[in-house]
């Protein structure tokens, strides 16, 4: 073992030395330090999985890590779930190219969290067991509500998975010089291994480790950048505006008109509160107190991370932009300007090299890879739970199934989702998938969130109202995305969009709430009456936690 390590370190050093001599580090061949760190990370996470597998015996262990994760750990894991490679590379890339607009975007991603804390986190923990459908169907009819909730969850998960896996394939291709298909299969296989063997416990710890590495790496980069400018933002911004343009200090084109602005805000706020893999994290803690502590820590980590990405974006402007080392000359010859290798999303990666050389580039590359793995694992687990717990155990078997069988189905679903993710990842390689994450957020905001929120707080909600209104919200979101500029014009090449706005959430969320309201209040059936009467008991449990699921004994 020691020999292998020595060999790896020596070869990494040789590579480092040769890179220094030739100065062609950005030629995307093999980056040895990246590969060494990547192996260390994969080894460590497989170790975690092995350790977790021994502790994952029951369905409760599998879905919620036994419910014994602390608030701090869960806050870190939530941050690990939320700080995806897309937000690390995408937002720092947006700051790099557009300046202030990147900050506007990241603020939108953050403000959903306080609302989750004030409205959702505690009742969710007190009422649910494994999935958010547990809460939505608490006093409503299991079959239809769980089917709809599971459909909303699985759609959100698959869309999000496609976005992550296509992005990851391209990133790994760029960072490690692997073939795209190989990269996608590698990600798919590793995520299936973590989830099937280690369940929620392994997924949680992979997320915690990754959140720590990402925060540490981003902190180092931000400090290294600030140290160049005597820790003065004024000096950093002054240099950046000299290199680029004064416009990067002001809002640009991201928020063009008030309707789009509000619609994007609604999608990000309520979408976050309707993402199944995020909601599922609240069942891993022991009680409502730990649930609220999780959000507090998570908001802190995520907010801190977004401030770092802002500094990193500006750091990339001053240290990467116009730096001949990172210039994509082939692209420049065609398009002019100063494009960087791999596009704007690579700004943070190039910056890591500019501040810390090959070694740190390797570290950040490995962290980016870890980030992808952690996020796709959380997503897969949430999707598999919707299939096994909601569709299989509750709808199909009507709850008459033992935990071990349910867990087996969940593992099979994980493998199934892994295969789907790999196939979709390869199929969508050359497609423009910019709309996919937006669509996932729109569906989460328009179908999952209204049902969940109203089931917690609105006495008059009935099964009929939730099913029809939720379906209206889902359909409106999908149709408006298809008719909007991202699909109708960019993808289907029509001249102008039928629906003018990029973000449909404002309209689809209103449609969902109005639909649920109308079809609930006009519901005079016997079932509806019983559902309204059951609200009182549900509300007491949601407020006090009396009767809530506790942590498992071992």
């Amino acid at each position: 073992m020691q020999r292998v390590l020595t060999f790896l370190i020596l070869s990494a050093l040789t590579l480092f030395a040769s890179d220094v001599i030739t100065g062609e580090v950005q030629k995307q061949g093999l980056n040895m330090s990246a590969i060494v760190m990547f192996f260390i990370f994969v080894g460590a996470t497989l170790g975690i999985t092995y350790w977790a597998a021994k502790r994952t015996k029951s369905a409760k262990d599998f879905y919620t890590a036994g419910g014994g994760i602390t608030g701090f750990q869960n806050g870190m894991a939530i941050a690990g779930d939320y700080m995806s490679a897309a937000s690390f590379l995408g937002i720092s890339g947006l700051v790099y190219s557009k300046g202030y607009d990147g900050l506007i975007y990241s603020i939108g991603f953050l403000v959903g969290w306080p609302i989750i804390l004030f409205m959702i986190a505690e009742p969710l923990r007190n009422l649910g067991k494994y999935t958010f459908a547990d809460v939505a169907s608490y006093r409503l009819r299991q079959g239809p509500i769980r089917t709809l909730a599971a459909f909303g969850s699985i759609t959100t998960v698959i869309l999000y998975l496609i976005a992550q896996i296509v992005g990851s394939g391209k990133l790994i291709q760029l960072l490690f010089g692997l073939q795209y298909e190989v990269a996608v299969i590698l990600v798919g296989v590793l995520m299936v291994l973590y989830v099937t063997f280690g369940g929620m416990l392994a997924t949680t710890w992979v997320q915690i480790v990754k959140a720590f590495l990402l925060l540490a790496g981003a902190t180092f980069m931000a400090i290294a950048v600030m140290a160049h400018y005597d820790f003065s933002f004024g000096k950093l911004f002054a240099t950046a505006t000299e290199l680029k343009d004064i416009s990067i200090m002001s809002p640009g084109k991201l928020v063009s008109d008030p309707i789009s602005a509000i619609s994007l805000a609604v999608a990000l706020m309520f979408g976050t509160a309707g993402l199944p893999h995020i909601l599922m994290r609240f069942f891993t803690v022991s009680d409502a107190k730990e649930a609220r502590k999780s959000v507090f820590y998570a908001t802190g980590f995520i907010g801190y991370f977004y401030i770092l990405t802002f500094i990193i974006g500006f750091g990339a402007i001053v240290m990467v932009f116009k730096n001949p080392q990172y210039l994509d000359m082939a692209k420049q010859a065609i398009e002019g300007g100063s494009p960087i290798l791999g596009g704007n999303d690579m700004a943070a990666i190039h910056l890591s090299h500019a501040v810390g050389g090959d070694f740190f580039l390797g570290f950040i590359s490995a962290v980016a890879f870890a980030t992808i793995l952690a996020v796709v694992s959380g997503l897969t687990l949430a999707g598999a739970s919707a299939i096994s717990h909601d569709l299989y155990a509750s709808v199909w078997k009507k709850g008459q199934v033992d935990g071990l069988k349910e867990m087996q189905v969940s593992k099979m679903a994980t493998v199934g989702l892994g295969i789907i993710a790999i196939i979709m990842g390869i199929a969508f390689e050359k497609q423009n998938i910019a709309f996919v994450v937006g669509l996932a957020f729109a569906i989460a905001a328009s179908a999952n969130f209204p049902i969940l929120f109203l089931s917690m707080y609105w006495r008059k909600l009935t099964t009929r109202g939730a099913v029809i209104g939720g379906t209206i919200g889902l359909a409106t979101a999908v149709i408006l995305v298809i008719l909007g500029p991202t699909v109708w014009v960019d993808l289907l090449k029509n001249a102008s969009p039928i629906f003018p706005y990029k973000y449909p959430a404002l309209f689809s969320v209103i449609a969902a709430f109005v639909g649920i309201y109308i079809f609930s209040v006009t519901d005079n059936s016997e079932g509806a009456k019983a559902e309204r009467e059951a609200f009182e008991a549900q509300f007491i449990r949601s407020q006090t936690g009396i009767g809530a699921e506790g942590a498992s004994e071992h």
Partner: protein
């Protein structure tokens, strides 16, 4: 949950206090974050140049930078305020309720 338990908790003054206070507090804080965020985003939508005003005549830093950072910090502080009060006052109330129905 059995019917007599529901009836008992429903009329428990501690429960009524918990629900009234927490609901009011949650709504206030939700409104606070919504007002701050929408004020920020709508200022940008209606008057994009306003946040682009330089901090001082010899500085390139615009007032939008500290304001944007402040929104992030504000969101975090609100979660802290809520968590602190809920961990003490609200949890005390729900523990009292739990105690009073332990034998039921």
């Amino acid at each position: 949950m059995r019917k007599e338990l529901v009836e008992k908790i429903k009329n428990d003054p501690n429960y009524i206090e918990l629900v009234t206070k927490r609901t009011a507090f949650s709504i206030k804080l939700t409104i606070a974050i919504l007002v701050v965020y929408f004020a920020f985003i709508l200022t940008i939508a209606f008057d994009p140049t306003l946040l682009g005003t330089p901090m001082s005549s010899d500085s390139v830093t615009t007032i939008g930078i500290p304001i944007g950072m402040a929104v992030i910090v504000f969101a975090f502080i609100l979660t802290g305020i809520y968590t602190r009060r809920a961990n003490t006052e609200f949890d005390d109330l729900s523990n009292k309720i739990k105690k009073s129905v332990k034998d039921l």
